[in-house]
């Protein structure tokens, strides 16, 4: 077990394509770190650089106290689990798991006992004589895990290991991997494009976009305090609602002016953000998560919207309601929306011309019909404001 440190790490491919820029990250001993982001964001390249499967163009990578920039993958003492399992198809399950031990010329008895222990831990004992092709996807995934844990390496690297499994099995394997990691206490770097996977498995997540680390921290922290509009849009399902509003001063406070409605900001929101003063008269991006919007009485609603669709999901209902406002059309939001899984619409997408569709997570027992004009309240302590020019969150 060891720490992994990436210091100013960059990667430029021979054609000149930059895959990773100035990546700085310290992964603690025994930590479960998840790299998450849309396709092409550089997360897999970063992982492969840690593994030694890609050369580093800039910076240093250290495992423990050792700088491993020029060290062969096999000498880094890491184990990797691949997207397509990468099992040796002609070998039995036993031989697959034993392979890295044989590569280290371990004694036969030791190999047998280690393989059997790993197989027992993963419920593979009865399959040891079989070939990978005779196993299901989930079982193959376990074999790949077995090949990783049998080594007792310094760290596990996992490259989208669940993406080939069906949804139900993915959920099951998610918790199995997380539990196994906790049990073994081995430093783990896990790559996924699925933000639900990242949120549920990682002790810390690192959100990447276009080769640049956007934000890192505990999942709940990133969810509650996204550093920029991309992170806000990417994390969460359904995604955050976005619309543009003009900031205007109103006595000691501020108001957000939509096309035909005004949302008065509560003193608490304003007090924490003195820099809002600089945005007076300008448009900002407003973000609010579906669970932070609520359907309320006529008298207490701060916004009004027209219901365009209702999806009852059993434990909750998603109400799609249109308000007259300008959509946030930043590249970051579009990219995050395009890569979203399970989200039913792009966050901030427009309903009709000049309208934005908000998603409200609500009680399924409420009787709401399409076409209703409904009053909505906004939890302002969970309101997110973004500088449209830079995409950065306005937190100060």
């Amino acid at each position: 077990m060891a720490t992994i440190s990436l210091s100013s790490v960059g990667k430029v491919y021979p054609g000149g394509t930059r895959a990773v820029s100035d990546l700085n990250l310290d992964i603690e001993d025994g930590e479960f770190m998840v790299f998450v982001g849309p396709s092409g964001c550089g997360k897999t390249t970063a992982l492969r650089m840690v593994a030694g499967l890609e050369d580093i163009t800039e910076g240093t990578i250290s495992i423990g106290d050792r700088v491993v920039n020029g060290v062969d993958p096999g000498k880094r003492d890491l184990a990797m689990v691949f997207q397509n399992y990468a099992l040796y198809p002609h070998m039995s399950i036993f031989e697959n798991i034993a392979f890295p031990l044989r590569a280290r010329h371990m004694a036969k008895d030791e190999i047998r006992s280690r393989v059997e222990r790993a197989a027992g831990l993963l419920g593979l004992t009865e399959y040891l004589r079989r070939k990978p092709r005779t196993l299901s996807g989930g079982q193959r995934q376990r074999v790949a895990m077995g090949r990783a844990i049998v080594r007792e390496p310094q760290a596990f690297l996992m490259d989208e290991p669940l993406s080939n499994l069906d949804a139900k099995l993915r959920v099951q394997m998610r918790s199995e991997i997380a539990n196994l990691q906790k049990e073994l206490g081995i430093t783990t770097v896990y790559v996924t494009h699925d933000q639900v996977e990242a949120m549920t498995m990682g002790r810390r997540i690192a959100v990447m976009r276009k080769g640049v680390l956007q934000q890192e921290g505990p999942p709940q922290n990133v969810y509650a305090h996204p550093a920029n509009i991309f992170v806000a849009a990417f994390i969460g399902s359904p995604g955050m609602n976005f619309f543009e509003a003009r900031v205007e001063r109103c006595e000691a406070s501020y108001q957000l002016h939509l096309r035909d409605q005004v949302l008065s900001l509560e003193p608490g929101v304003v007090r924490g953000r003195p820099s809002l003063e600089a945005f007076v008269g300008r448009c900002v991006g407003v973000g609010v998560r579906p669970e932070n919007l609520a359907l309320v009485d006529e008298s207490s609603g701060s916004l009004r919207a027209r219901v365009s669709r209702v999806e009852v999901l059993g434990a909750e209902a998603l109400v799609y309601a249109d308000i007259a406002a300008k959509a946030v059309v930043a590249d970051e939001v579009i990219e995050a929306a395009d890569s979203g899984e399970g989200d039913t619409r792009a966050p901030g997408s427009t309903g009709d011309e000049g309208e934005v569709t908000l998603i409200i997570r609500t009680d399924p027992s409420l009787e709401i019909d399409v076409g209703d004009r409904i009053p909505i309240s906004v939890r302002q302590d969970r309101l997110h404001l973004f500088d449209i020019g830079t995409g950065m969150a306005i937190w100060t």
């Binding site: 492969r48 593994a51 030694g52 499967l53 062969d72 993958p73 096999g74 000498k75 890491l78 184990a79 990797m80 691949f82 997207q83 397509n84 990468a86 040796y88 198809p89 002609h90 070998m91 392979f99 890295p100 044989r102 590569a103 280290r104 070939k131 090949r147 690297l157």
Partner: protein, 304 residues
């Protein structure tokens, strides 16, 4: 008017159609193969038991005499040995060489496409024509001996294709040069079929190059190995063009192969019956060895 057929009837008809259509489509090809390839071969096999000279209208049955001649001293035994030597050398050299070239030219070498083309070209050229070029190269005053002379190795100079000790190996060298490019392509295709993730897994698992080759690459090349070995064995057993071009079977029969004997006895010496017997023996040897080899190699494939 009769009622339209029920769904069950339609389903049954569809099933019959699906089962038979492939056969119907294959029939023209099968008929052509039978008429143009198999029937003449089987028909000519009948002449192997006669003394027909290829010109007269009648032929006398001679029983197994023609086969006795083949396996007698001074008959076809020398040619059989030469054939097996050529096939053995080609099988080993073309496959080891082709595999080595494929492994070498798989990596990120800048000139790999040029080199691949260079190694493949000999196979694409006319074997007879290149055979004559090699005959010139290996002649006593040819470029090969001149190079030896230039290197101060003039004591090694000889008429390579006219020396009974060296002529067969000279032919073997040319045949290997010609076929190694093709086996290289077959192995390259096989290597392309191995997922890149396995290379990464082997690298992270810390296996040495030799372990990777022996335990991962070679077993996964089993299908390519079957194809390449079977083809080289068949080509080696049927070696003809290069022998005719380089030595014509000489000197004094030292490089005669079964294929050249078939041709000479049938079309030069007018012994069609004997030629047919030789052809039959050659066909049986090729079939038996190729099938045995395929059977053995397929068992390796089954492990995949």
């Amino acid at each position: 008017m009769s009622a339209p057929p029920s769904k069950a009837v339609l389903r049954r008809r569809r099933k019959i159609l699906v089962r038979h259509v492939p056969w119907v489509l294959a029939i023209p090809g099968i008929v052509l193969m039978l008429v143009l390839r198999f029937l003449p071969a089987v028909g000519s096999a009948g002449y192997a038991f006669t003394d027909w000279n290829g010109l007269t209208l009648s032929a006398n049955s001679v029983g197994l005499d023609n086969f006795g001649r083949i396996f007698s001293r001074g008959g076809g035994l020398g040619a059989l040995a030469n054939t097996l030597i050529l096939a053995g050398v080609l099988l080993v050299v073309a496959n080891v060489g082709g595999l080595a070239l494929a492994l070498g030219l798989r990596g990120p070498l800048k000139t790999r496409n040029l080199l691949r083309a260079m190694f493949f070209i000999p196979f694409a050229l006319s074997h007879l024509a290149t055979g004559y070029i090699w005959q010139f190269i290996f002649s006593y005053k040819g470029p090969f001996n001149q190079i030896l002379d230039g290197l101060g190795l003039d004591s090694l100079q000889k008429a390579w294709t006219a020396d009974p000790q060296w002529a067969l190996y000279t032919i073997a060298l040319v045949i290997c040069w010609q076929y190694t490019g093709l086996t290289m392509i077959i192995y390259l295709a096989g290597l392309e079929g191995i997922p890149e993730e396995l290379d990464d897994a082997v690298a992270v698992d810390g296996a040495s190059r030799w372990m990777k080759f022996r335990r991962v690459t070679l077993p996964l090349l089993a299908p390519a190995l079957t194809v390449a070995c079977t083809l080289t064995l068949i080509w080696g057993l049927g070696a003809f063009d290069q022998v005719i071009a380089l030595t014509g079977g000489g000197p004094s029969g030292a490089t005669e192969t079964l294929a050249t004997m078939v041709w000479k006895n049938t079309f030069v010496f007018g012994e069609y019956g004997y030629g047919a017997a030789l052809a039959l023996v050659l066909a049986l040897i090729v079939a038996c060895m190729a099938l045995a080899q395929m059977f053995l190699l397929r068992r390796r494939e089954d492990k995949l």
